[in-house]
Every structure is written in C-alpha cells, then in structure tokens.
Amino acid sequence: MIKIQNLVKSFKGQTVLNGIDLDINEGEIIVIIGPSGTGKSTLLRCINFLEQPDAGVIAIDGDAVDAENARKKEVLRLRRNTSFVFQNYALFANKTAAQNIAEGLITVWGRSKAEAMAEANQILADIGLAEKADSYPAALSGGQQQRVGIGRAMASHSKVMLFDEPTSALDPEWVDEVLQLMKKLAERKQTMLVVTHEMSFARDVADRVVFMEGGRIVEQGPPEQIFSSPQDPRTREFLRKVIRD
C-alpha cells in the first residue's frame, strides 16, 4: 500500500538517510528500532514532508510523490493520507482536548463544527478521556496529552499513522496507558509505522521489526526472528545493549 523508494536526506552535508526502501502493507504494524541518530525520526518526518527529502519516491496507494520535484498540492495530499504522533505531543496549546481532535475535521475535512465536535467526543470516549473534553493541554498529564495526540491522529482516518517515539518524553508512570492505546489501534488493524525504544512493544505488537543504523535499513523481519536470531552483527550488538534481561 505504501512504497518508499531510495529516500535520501542530508542536513548540512551530513547524510542522515542513505537510500531507504520500505514497503508497508495495509494493516501492518511496523516498528523501527536502532541507535539514536540513525535517521529513524528523520525517516518518519520525511514520509509526510515535515522534512523535505533530497531524493526518493513516496507512494501511497499508487499516488507517487517524487521528492525532487514535489509540488505543494502533492505534499498536502500526502500529509492528508498520513497522520503523525509527536514525541512531545505537540497538542495545539490554544485548543481544548476536543478542539484538538476536531480541528482537522473542520479545517481539512470540511465537517461542520457540530459534526466535528461530536466525532471528537466519540474519539475521546474511545481513548478513555471523555471527561477531559474541555480541558486545555496545560491541564492534562503527559500520558493524557499523548493520548489526545493519538486521538487527533485517529480523527483523520489516515492510511498510515506515524509514531515518532511516542513514549520517550513521558514519565514512566504514563508510558503504559499510551502503549495500551497503541495496542488497541493495532488490534483494529490500523496501519502503523512506529519509531520506539520500547522493545517489549516491538516484540508483542509488531508484524515486522526494522533495524536501522547509519541511515540505512540493516535488517528487517518478524519480531521473533529479529529478537531471537538477528543475522547482522550490528543488530546483535544493539539488542545486547538495550535488552538487559
């Protein structure tokens, strides 16, 4: 369904993505792991053009965008086919939880305010935050903010949800509620691309684990294979460091 071909990105002469090829099937949950600074987040941000890739093609359902001459309209379409969950939540600070979720429905998807708010409240109930509809982000805990962030991404019914280290900024006490919500989405066969350091999530939820290092995909496969019999020495080395038990 989603086809990424030869994606290249460099910052000030430093190559961060070194030709990434990745196919994502509908309903697939892919978890990207790897050492920090290897381009995992950049890959995610290039897929919806929060960073402009230098080269490569991103195609969603055959609708291909060539990074080297991407037009504004194509980028907009790509963004409307994807949704993004940020490490720091990035909820709209001037809007309530419900308004955060309704914002895209109103301004991008052309719903009336009433319809959008009704749908937002439904999503809030779904993520267990119905009673926080009128709270502003500043009044929510980190875990609640991130769940609203996920709710905002859910609202667009996008083809793929991109998660950029969604639990890395959270206090440990809030990590679980966010992971539980992500598991719930996974059970519904929401296509997801997740960058995370939560190895147990990768092991339990992913259909496929992708190991990245130095701006390349080193190895990928089902979680059992990656975690119990990694082929590449770099994968083995990384897993040895992060899994202590």
């Binding site: 929060l50 940020f86 990035a90 809007k95 991008v108 502003y136 500043a138 991404a153």
Partner: protein, 223 residues
C-alpha cells in the same frame, strides 16, 4: 500660587468634548495598523520573496524617521507630487500616518511573538493536513497574540498619545483645543495640565482593559 482652580475645572469638560475625535483617530489607527502589521509579520515569517524585502524597507523607514516628519510628508508633501491627494483632509492623513508608523513597530512585535511559538505547533498543524496559511491563522496567530499583547498595548498607548501630533496638521482634537484655550487665556499650566490628566486617565483605563484581556488569553494555559 498662580493657579486658577476654577479655570482648570472648567477646562476638563470642555476638553473632554474633543476626546471623541482623539479616540476615533487612535482606534481607527489601531485597526489599520494591526491588519497591516499582521500581514507584514506573516510575510516576514514565511520569507515571501520580494515582499519580504519590501516589508523590511517599509519597517526600516517608518521606524527610522520621526512620526511628525512622516505626517508632514504625507499631508503637506505628497499632494505636491500627486495632486489627487490634495483632497485628503487632515483627519484622514493623521489616521493614515499613525497607522503606517505604528504598524512598523507592531509588525516586529507580532513577528517576535510568532518566532516564540514552539515550531512543533506548526508541524502538528501541517501534519493534520492544514496549509501553512491555515495553520498560521488557526494555530500560530492565536497563540502569538497572547505573547504579543503587552507590547501591542504599549504601542497602542503610544499611539493614543501620538494623536496629539495631529494638531500640527490642523485636526481640531484634544491637544489643539487645549493649545487654543491656553493661548487665548494665557493660563497655559491649567490648560496643559488638564489635557495631560485626560491622556493619563485614558491610558490608565486601557491598562485595565489589557489586564482583563491578558487574563482571558491566559485561561488556556492554567493548570
């Protein structure tokens, strides 16, 4: 002490009759200045080719020259080059001059406020499929207005006081009236003290308005 208390108290209601015109100038000036300032700030933030350069030139000129000189240029100078402008009355010229002058300052305040908003707010708006302009209007500017409010209010207060310069173009506003009264009665201190107190009272009133607005805009940020 040579202070005519009765004359002073007579002056106050007399001068208050001209406050309306002063406030009309200030409020019209504020509206036009804000519209212009927001537009210029957005042009600068998005670095719109050519326009960005023009805005920088505009801001540099209107911040770099005295308001009085700008008003004279506009009202006495320009009609010499463009005869159509002869028909512009002093009040309109004053409003235009005040708007242009203060828009330059306000644009920089608004731009600074926009730059102060975490860039993930723009990214989040883009990620849900908003266009940059939509994101600016719905997400960034509402947040920036809260940050810019104190300095915008400062500039508005400055603008209220600067309307007094309009008397040099012949607008019969507060200051002009005080000047007239003073020179016919020779009671300069009473007349100018009265006018000073009226400006002061108006500014104090708007400071209260500012406090209310700040509280309202801060609501979203309370834990």
């Amino acid at each position: 002490m040579n202070f005519d208390l009765n004359y002073f108290f007579e002056m106050i209601p007399l001068l208050l009759g001209y406050l309306g015109l002063t406030m009309k100038m200030a409020v019209l000036g504020l509206i036009f200045a804000l519209v212009l300032a927001v537009t210029m700030a957005v042009v600068r933030v998005f670095k719109v080719p050519v326009l960005d350069w023009l805005v920088q030139l505009f801001i540099s000129f209107f911040r770099g020259t005295p308001l009085l000189v700008q008003l004279f240029l506009l009202y006495y100078g320009l009609p010499q080059l463009f005869p159509i402008m002869v028909g512009i009355d002093a009040f309109t010229a004053a409003v235009i001059g005040l708007s242009l002058h203060f828009s330059a300052y306000m644009a920089e305040s608004i731009r600074a406020a926009i730059m102060g908003i975490d860039k993930s707010q723009m990214e989040a708006a883009l990620s849900i499929g908003q266009t940059p302009l939509m994101a600016m209007r719905r997400i960034i500017l509402p947040q920036a207005s809260r940050i810019a409010l104190p300095s915008l209010m400062n500039q508005f207060v400055d603008m209220i006081k600067s309307t007094s310069l309009a008397f040099t173009l012949g607008v019969a506003e507060l200051m002009a009236r005080a000047q007239m009264e003073a020179s016919s009665s020779f009671r300069f201190f009473e007349a100018f003290l009265a006018v000073a107190l009226i400006y002061w009272a108006v500014v104090v009133l708007f400071t209260q308005v500012q406090i209310r607005m700040e509280n309202r805009l801060n609501r979203a940020y309370q834990r």
